[in-house]
Symmetry: C2
Subunit: 480 residues, 2 copies
C-alpha cells in the first residue's frame, strides 16, 4: 500500500531565501527551520505509525490573518505546499505535511475575542483549546455544545476543519450546527469573511458549511463565530444493560419515537470493550451479565423535567428487553461511568500500541449488522476489535488492535486486509469510513470504497477551482 | 434599475429540432412548446411585478434522474439555459427563466419513496408538497421539523434549493439541518449521490450543504433523504404583550439564558401589523394597549413538561416588562393567534398589491435598532412597513407596501430608493438581505451591499467550476 502518492504538481523546496521572507512576514522568532529536533513534532498527529509521518521543511507561527494571507501568496508564487495544523490531536493525518513545505501553526492565535450575550454567540481565534470556551462560558449560563471527546487538548480551529463530533451529537448535532461565521484565508491568499452573527442566512452559497469539515484543504480559518446554547441545569446518566448489541440498538429509536425524547447522548459498548476499560481502571461498574450496554444521558433546564425523561427512557429500555437499568444522578457516579467509556482506547493501548482507531459511520439501524461483521473480522484475523461508539448517530469507534505477541511485520501485512474488508462491509450497509475523524491521508485510498467516482470528481472540481496550484494541504482526502 | 443583465455567454434558441429531442427524452406529452398560454404560468413565481417575469421557450416534465441528466447533456451541447422549478411559490424569482430556454418541472416526481422508521428518516422525490410529508408521518409519531409557512403549496425540492426556514427554526433550525442525503444531477448532466442515511459523515466535503440553498444553480435534486424527529405530543402558545419592540426583543435572550429554555417559535409583530391582520380577519385578539407582541410556542413530549416551560417563560416576560401574558393551551385559541400572524401579508394585499416582501436577517439583538430604522423609512417615504417576523432568529419580514392611491409610476420610482436604503441599513448592523427567501434575480444587484466582493468571487469560482457553460439557472444570485 502506498501512503504518499505525490501529486503530479512539482513543488519547490523551502530555500533560505524563502525562510527570510517568512521571517519578514511573521517575525524571526516565529519561524522554525533547519532544526530537525524542533521540526519533528510537526511531522505527525495522533495516528500511530512512522509510515503516516512526514517532516515539514519549515514551521511558521503567524499571529494575524494578514500574515497568513502573505504566507499563502508567497507559497503560490514559489510553488511550496502549506499545511495548517491545530493541536495535532487529529486521527487521520490531516495536519501531516505529506508533501513537505511549510506547516502553519495557530498556537499564537488563541484568544477568545468576544462574548456576545445578547446574540448568544462567541467569537474566537482558531487556536483556542476547545475546553477553554466552555470553562469561560460557565459563569454566563451558556455553553458550546459540539465539543469532541478530546476537548482538553484539541483546538476549536481543528474541530471546525474536521467537523468534529462528540458524545452529545444525538441532541446537539456536530460542530457544523454551531459555526455561523468564519473568517478565512483562501488557498490563493485572499481574506474572506463568511457568514456572520446570523442564525439564518441564504445570501449566497453556504460557504461556511463547505469550509467546515474540509480538513484544511479549502481555507485557513482565522476567526470563528459560534452559536451558543443555554447551559443545561440538570443532567442524569442511565446505564442500561442488554443481552447483546442487537437488543440494545433496537431500543434506540423507541426512545425517540415512543418516548418522544431526544437524549443528549446514546453511547454503546460491547462487553469486550467495557471489560478491558474496567480492568484498566480497576473499576467495578456492573456489566458481567450483559453482552452490551447503553449509556444514555439526558439534560435539561431543571431536575423535574429530566426526571420525567429518564424514568420514561428507563421503562422503555426495560420494555425493550434490558436486563437492568442503573441511574447515575450525581456527578461522582456519572464520572465513573463516563470514565469507563472514555478509557476504552487507553485500555487497549496498554495491551498493544499496534492499533488502528477507526470511526466508521453507518445508518443507526445498521449497527447490529455491522457489529456482527466486526466480530467475524475479529475471529477471522485473530485481532481484537472492541466495539463501542455513538449509537444515536451510528458512529462506531471500532478499534482494530493487534495481539500483543504479533511482530510489526505481521501487523503491517494483516491490517490493510482487515481495513479493506471493514470498509467494504461498511459500504455494503450504506455507511462511510469516517464519522468525525476525517479522511486525511490515512484513509484517502479507501474513500472510493464508500462514495462514487462522480462524487470524488465533484470534490476535485471544487478543490482545483479554489486552489489552482494545489498549495493548501495537498495529498489529503483525494488525489488530484 | 436593470433587472436582467444577460450574461456574456451567448445562448442558442430552443428550435423545433431540440424540442423533438426533448420529447424523445421525456415523452411527447411532457413537453410544452409553442403555446404562449400554456407557457405563461412558468414565467413567474410569487414575486409580483411583470418586470420580474420572463417567458420560457419550452417546459419539460421529466420523471427520472436519467431524463434530467439527458436534458442537461443536451442543453450543454446546444448552449441552452435550463431553469428548475418547484411549486413556483418562491419570493425571489429563483424559478424564473430570465435567459429563456428550458424550464424543468418536478411535478411528476412527487412520490414519498420510503419511510425508514428505524433510522427515523424519510426518502422523497423533490416534487412532494411539503405538508404531505407531515400528513403522512402523523400516524407514525414522527415529523419533519423545518417546513416553511407556505407548506401547503411549496415543494420539498424548492425548500431544499432555497434552504427554507419557518416559524420553528428557533428550536428546530432550518431545512439544512435535516437534509442528510441528496441525489443530484449536476449542471453538466452527471448523476451524483451525496450523503446518505447518515447522521454524521466527514468522508469528503459537505456537498449536501453546498447544494442546500444554492437556488437551483449548482444541481437539480432528484431524491431527498430527510432526518425526522419525534412528533411533539403537547404544545402551548403564549401571547406576550409589550410596550414596544425594544422591550419585547430584550426578553428573548433571557428566555434562553435565564430560563434555560429554547422555545419552538419566537415570533414578533408590531402593533401596525397585528391591527391590519385583525381587521382583515375580523378577529379580536387583545393587543390594543401593546406596541409589540411576542408569540412564543413551546412543545415537548408531555403536558407537564411544557407547562413548566411556559410558566417559566411567562414569568420571565412579565419580569422583563410585559404588560400582559395570555396562554393558548388549546388548538382553537392557538389557531386564532397563528392565523393573525400568518395573514399579515394577505391583510396588506387587500390594502395594496404594490408590495415588496422582504426578509432581511440581522443579528437577533439588532432587531430593535432595525425596527426603528424601518419606522424612519416608512415615515420618510410615506409607505407602510408592517414589521413582523422571527425574533428568535433575527429574520424580519418587513414588507414594503405602497399607499393605495399611489400610481404605478410613483411606486416604481420610490421602491428602489427604499430598498437601497433598507439594504444599506441592514448591512450596517451586520445583517443580510435574505434569511429564507433567497436572492434569486430579484435581489441580485443588492448582494454586494451585504457581502464582500471577495465572497462573491468565491461563489463565482464555484459556479464556473461546476457549470462551465453557465447552463443551470443562469442570472441568479450573482452575475458571472
Amino acid at each position: 500500500m502506498e501512503f504518499f502518492v505525490r501529486s503530479e504538481k512539482k513543488y519547490n523546496p523551502v530555500t533560505p531565501k524563502i525562510v527570510d521572507e517568512l521571517k519578514q512576514i511573521v517575525g524571526s522568532r516565529y519561524v522554525i527551520y533547519g532544526d530537525e529536533e524542533k521540526l519533528q513534532p510537526y511531522s505527525h498527529d495522533e495516528v500511530p505509525g512512522a509510515e503516516y509521518a512526514h517532516m515539514p521543511e519549515a514551521v511558521v507561527r503567524p499571529g494575524t490573518a494578514e500574515e497568513i494571507a502573505a504566507i499563502m501568496k508567497l507559497a503560490n508564487r514559489e510553488m511550496i505546499p502549506v499545511t495548517p495544523r491545530g493541536a495535532g490531536s487529529g486521527l487521520s493525518g490531516g495536519a501531516v505535511p505529506v508533501c513537505g513545505g511549510i506547516v502553519v501553526l495557530f498556537d499564537r492565535m488563541n484568544k477568545i475575542l468576544e462574548l456576545d450575550r445578547e446574540n448568544m454567540m462567541i467569537v474566537v481565534e482558531p487556536g483556542v483549546v476547545t475546553n477553554e470556551i466552555n470553562e469561560f462560558l460557565k459563569e454566563h449560563g451558556l455553553f458550546y455544545a459540539a465539543y469532541p471527546m478530546s476537548l482538553e487538548t484539541c483546538y476549536i480551529g481543528g474541530n471546525v476543519a474536521e467537523n468534529a463530533g462528540g458524545a452529545k451529537a444525538v441532541k446537539y448535532g456536530v460542530t457544523s450546527r454551531y459555526v455561523v461565521g468564519l473568517d478565512v484565508v483562501t488557498p490563493t491568499g485572499e481574506i474572506v469573511e463568511l457568514g456572520g452573527k446570523l442564525i439564518k442566512d441564504v445570501s449566497g452559497y453556504n460557504m461556511v458549511q463547505l469550509m467546515v469539515g474540509s480538513e484544511g484543504t479549502l481555507g485557513l480559518f482565522t476567526k470563528i463565530t459560534l452559536k451558543l446554547l443555554p447551559l443545561p441545569k440538570a443532567q442524569v446518566d442511565l446505564l442500561c444493560l442488554f443481552k447483546n448489541i442487537e437488543e440494545a440498538i433496537k431500543a434506540v429509536p423507541k426512545i425517540q419515537t415512543i418516548g418522544g425524547i431526544i437524549p443528549t447522548s446514546i453511547e454503546f459498548m460491547n462487553k469486550t470493550a467495557i471489560k478491558a476499560s474496567c480492568e484498566y481502571l480497576n473499576e467495578s461498574i456492573p456489566y458481567q451479565q450483559a453482552g452490551a450496554m447503553l449509556l444514555i444521558t439526558v439534560d435539561g433546564p431543571d431536575e423535574q423535567q429530566i426526571e420525567r425523561e429518564y424514568e420514561s427512557i428507563g421503562q422503555l429500555c426495560l420494555d425493550a428487553g434490558a436486563i437492568e437499568v442503573y441511574v447515575a444522578d450525581n456527578a461522582t457516579t456519572s464520572e465513573r461511568i463516563w470514565k469507563v467509556r472514555r478509557n476504552i482506547g487507553e485500555a487497549y493501548n496498554v495491551i498493544s500500541r499496534r492499533q488502528s482507531a477507526e470511526d466508521i459511520v453507518v445508518p443507526p439501524a445498521a449497527i447490529p449488522a455491522m457489529a456482527a461483521k466486526l466480530q467475524e473480522l475479529s475471529d477471522k484475523y485473530d485481532v481484537m476489535i472492541p466495539c463501542f461508539g455513538h449509537a444515536g448517530d451510528g458512529n462506531l469507534h471500532s478499534r482494530i488492535v493487534s495481539q500483543p505477541w504479533w511482530s510489526d511485520e505481521k501487523w503491517h501485512k494483516v491490517l490493510p486486509k482487515i481495513l479493506d474488508e471493514l470498509y467494504r462491509l461498511t459500504a455494503e450497509v450504506g455507511g462511510r469510513i469516517s464519522g468525525e475523524h476525517g479522511i486525511g491521508h490515512k484513509k484517502k485510498n479507501y474513500l472510493p470504497y464508500v462514495v462514487s467516482e462522480n462524487y470524488i470528481d465533484m470534490l476535485r472540481t471544487i478543490k482545483r477551482a479554489m486552489d489552482p496550484n494545489n498549495i493548501l494541504n495537498p495529498g489529503k482526502i483525494f488525489d488530484l
